[in-house]
Amino acid sequence: MTGNPLLLFLVLWPMAGGILSFIAGRLNRRLRDISAGTVTLVELAAALHCRGLLGAKLSLDGVCGLGLTLTLDGFRLIYAAIIAFMWAATTLFSPEYLDHHRNRNRYYLFVLMTEGAIMGVFLSADLYTTFVFFEMMSLFSYIMVVQDETPAALRAAQTYLAIAIIGGLSTLMGLLLLNHQLGTLVTADLAAAAAAVKDRGALYVSGGLVLSGFAAKAAIFPAHIWLPTAHTAAPAPSSALLSGLLTKSGLFGVLALSAGPFLHDARWGLALLALALVTMALGAVLAVFSVNIKRTLACSSMSQLGFILTGIAMQCFLGADTGGAGGPFRPELQFGDLAVRGTILYMVGHSLIKLVLFLAAGVVHMNTHELGLNEIRGFGRDKPLFLFAFLMGGLGLMGMPLWNGYLGKTLVHEAIVEHIHHIGRAGAGALGFLMTPSSERLLFQAAEWTFLVSGALTTAYVLKLLVVLFVARPAPGLHQKGRYISPLSAAVLALSAAVLPLLGCLPHVLADPIAFLGASFMNGPAKHHAVSYFSLSSLEGAAISLGLGLLIYLFVVRTVLMRKDAAGEPVCVDLWPGWLDLEHLAFRPLIAGLLPALGGAFAKGVDRAASILIRVLPFLGALAARAIDLVCAGPITLVLSHAARIRFIRPPEDQEFGIYQEEEGGPMVRALLPSSLAYSLATFALGLLFILAYLIQF
């Protein structure tokens, strides 16, 4: 082991702490809660202490074969701090939420193990290490999804695990190919190594394979199917982590590729953009249709991940504008700046927003034990703290100026606009290999509008949630009076919520340094220059999104997706057809039905053919032996029996000893086809010798 051991501590401490808490839980519940909380707080302190250690490295030679390497740069530091913060927040929130739940020791054990693993993902300095920790994280987080063990949770967890394993294997295969093609997996060296590769086609294949596993975790279409159900089924603190951080670990992998072998590669960017737009729009539409608070938030996560992926795709395009794929890498050009900053701020913003919103949903669930929008109607009335938290999260999610969600969203939007400006400026556009500048411009204008409309849909579903929770009159039988949240949970919720407007209001003080810190990871510009977040053109995009969203809410959601009940209260209607579900239409029939059936038939065929082959050989040998027997011994027997009047008794075949002929009962032609082992072996060996003799001869 060489390097700074603190990096290893960040990874191993939560894992050790998880085991510690598990043991503590066997003794006493309080002790376990205190232990788990302390572990995460120590981790937070350690992560914050790391801010002075930028550039620290650690390599564990020989561990897991190739050796693991960790490093700390700006982006990794940001995420180490966010991971530690969110884990501390959710763990402190958990005791109240999980009261009356079963198997809590197990839950804390695996939640803390997951923290260590995801730390490893974000600190990893090479893709092998990333993959090792990524797989561990996927496995450990399975318990976070399945924890409640309701039928829905079991099913969602099954899907989660299946997608994680399929994605993981495809990533593994891609990494093997990539390692072979590039000769290295060190994240920082990937770009230079890929620039030297002639055969880009093979590189796209391996890159695509690596991407698939990471994209699956980031809920990118079409591997998004696990997310809506898994995030809904998990306990709320886990949902916050799954949505806020585990999906980001998938994006970490996507970023490592986009800023590595496919740096500023427009072809790669185009693929990402296509996936991003579908994910973004589909997630938003699903969220608008949803009638379950956690499902809405989950689908919203999916949609938001599409927004972030758009930012990553735009890095490729803006980079390509400056040099193009395979062209000279010129870091002094700053065109990618907007997209890089936008991506970082969007990621950070979304992590923090989803923490608040899922914890708020947890508050709803632990009081009402319901998640359906109609059952929790009016829950938020007369609960100022809850209102504050949910409103901060909601406004952040909408991208309202002065809240943190706005910053990332507007920068990514600006990046699209910037690219449209660049098209045709230097002759052909970034997609010159595929289309003319005018059609490229059209494509990106369509992308921009998809972006804005998805933003509008975001506004619509947030409004829907806000109205249901705070405006509508409470559903009958809803718990209203008395304390609804413990002081500790309340403090956690308030603190997490207060961060959002703070970040949004002081972008130059808080957001800029974050963006600047993280930029080097994405090969962003080295120079720091100011961006005006609240310029007129930036505000225009936000205004379109928000205004359009309001219209959608008023004219689509209110009229189509909500009805008035007898008392004049709005009731949400589930209009999404049940059969329209990619998981049930395609994934399950294919992976659990068709492929195993085909493979099984093939395997059975081979199995059968092999045993027939093995039976035919001795059979032929025996046939020959009997023939020889008949020819040689027959006359002798005949002579003897006539001359000496000796009776020859052929012993009955030993049933057990010839059992490898598996036919039970039924007439066998014993006279000619003995199933005796001795015959078979002798003749088999004889046959073999014949073959060998033949071979020697010729």
Binding site: G62, T150, A157, L176, L177, A610, I614, L692
Partner: protein, 501 residues
């Protein structure tokens, strides 16, 4: 005579002491207390392990000739790197399984016969590993087949006897094929002693290259029977499940590896990697191995009977080693050796855990089928945790030994000589890993996550005796540590991998 002149004899002890100790059991008073027998078996097993470890660590790799048969043929041993790796592995696993059997065999008499043959097999396995020429190898290989027959036949029920006969037939047929190769290597080799890089006399072979390739192919097929390679694989899923579980564990975990050791000897010490590289033999064996990997996993996926499923899994997993060793690349060979170690630990652990589940759950029902195990993890948390860890290694998920082995094996497949066969091989490995996850993880999931309607009031956690708990824990820890500390382990492989440079 001085002490030094006894020293060479001392070196034969790892092979002959367990055999002698095993035979001695047959002369113990059969009506006597089992405690006496347990003490004898336990002590001699531990002593044998200690002898083996001493031999692995202390002896040099010189040739030890026991007796000469003719002037060119002899019974001889040599503790080279391959022998060291395998002997150390056997010395670790065998005592664990023995201690597990003390508890298990209480319900499966007769103990005496079982332990006699079990202990003898221990020594014979070391003999297979240390054999210095093909004659010795063949001798111990056949002995191993016969010595393990009573283990498979233990219950003496109809199925067990059928399984045994099938096992016998396939093993003998395989060995007969291999024996054919013996004569040719004798004629075309410069000596009969295993030599790194091969013994073939290239001048003699030059005339009969195709014939020698065919012979090598047949020899490999023959030894492949023990490793469960298609088409001689059908005995394995029949014979392994009918044996008592401790025997299944070593049959699957170690005895199949004896076939692998023999194949490694043929490829790297008789024919030589340079002779085989790029030939149709290499491609044919790789294709057969890939076919086996897929068919084994697929059959395991469709199989519901727990032990049969694990046995089919062995068919698939052992062929990973065949695939990797035939790549003839340093990474491939590293992966193959790692896979031998990791699979031996994990598979023994799986079988032993399955044995606990089948015979010791307190609800009275004997679980034989994979879909009956709902909630078993609540009754047998330690057992099922070990099962889970071993499963992860078999699937090949980080950070277990199976994962690192798979990484090396797949890296080794990307060699230009193989072209698309290598890439296809990786794809098959991945598909097989997916299927493996499909047939092992649902068991773990059902065991630990029975659903919120599960009736916890009926759960009576079963206290696992230390004799069983410790082997399970050590084996699963072994599967885990093999991966985490794969670096130091692979550095032990270096001398044998050096053949390829």
């Amino acid at each position: 005579m001085t002490f030094a002149s006894f020293l060479p004899l001392f070196a034969f002890l790892p092979v002959f002491f367990p055999i002698a100790a095993g035979v001695a059991i047959l002369f113990l008073p059969s009506g006597g207390r089992p405690a006496l027998r347990h003490a004898w078996v336990g002590l001699t097993t531990l002593l044998s392990s200690a002898l083996i470890v001493a031999a692995v660590l202390l002896t040099k790799s010189q040739l030890l000739v026991l007796c000469r048969v003719t002037d060119t043929l002899s019974i001889a041993f040599r503790m080279d790197t391959l022998a060291r790796i395998f002997s150390a592995l056997v010395a670790f696993i065998w005592p664990l399984v023995t201690f597990y059997s003390f508890e298990y065999l209480r319900r499966r008499p007769p103990e005496g016969r079982f332990f006699a043959f079990f202990l003898s097999t221990f020594g014979i396995l070391i003999g297979v590993a240390c054999a210095a020429n093909l004659l010795t190898l063949y001798l111990f290989y056949e002995l191993m087949t016969f010595m393990t027959l009573p283990l498979v036949m233990h219950s003496q029920q109809r199925e067990a006897i059928r399984g045994t006969v099938k096992y016998l037939f396939y093993s003998l047929a395989g060995a007969a094929l291999a024996l054919g190769g013996f004569f040719f290597f004798h004629i075309y080799g410069v000596s009969m002693d295993f030599t790194p890089g091969g013994i073939l006399d290239m001048e003699k072979v030059a005339m009969n290259r195709d014939m020698m390739l065919t012979v090598t192919f047949l020899t490999l097929m023959g030894f492949g029977a023990k490793a469960g390679m298609v088409p001689l694989h059908a005995w394995l899923p029949t014979a392994h499940p009918v044996a008592p579980t401790p025997a299944s564990a070593v049959l699957s975990g170690l005895i199949t590896k004896a076939g692998i050791i023999a194949m490694l000897r043929v490829v790297y010490f008789l024919a030589g990697p340079d002779f085989l590289r790029g030939t149709w033999v290499q491609k044919a064996i790789i294709s057969l191995a890939l076919l086996t990997i897929f068919v084994g996993s697929m059959m395991a996926y469709t199989e519901k009977h727990l032990k049969k499923r694990i046995a089919y899994s062995t068919v698939s997993q052992v062929s990973y080693v065949v695939f990797a060793m035939m790549l003839l690349t340093p990474e491939g060979l590293t992966g193959a050796l790692l896979q031998i170690v990791a699979h031996a630990m994990a598979k023994s652990c799986l079988f032993l855990s399955a044995g606990v589940v089948i015979y010791f759950t307190l609800q009275g029902a004997n679980y034989h089928y994979a879909d009956q195990l709902r909630g078993v993890g609540k009754e047998l948390p330690v057992t099922m945790s070990c099962f889970a860890v071993a499963s992860l290694s078999i699937i090949g998920l980080p950070v277990t030994g199976g994962f690192v082995a798979k990484w090396y094996m797949a890296s080794g497949a990307l060699t230009p000589e193989l072209g698309w066969l290598g890439v296809g091989g990786i794809a098959v490995l991945m598909a097989s890993a997916l299927l493996t996850a499909g047939y092992l993880l649902p068991i773990v999931v059902d065991a630990f996550f029975p659903g919120n309607d599960y009736d916890y009031s009926t759960v009576v956690p079963f206290h696992l005796p230390m004799n069983m708990r410790l082997p399970l824990l050590l084996l699963s820890a072994g599967a885990l540590l093999t991966g985490m500390f794969a670096g130091p382990l692979t550095s032990c492989f270096r001398p044998i991998i050096g053949i390829l440079y």
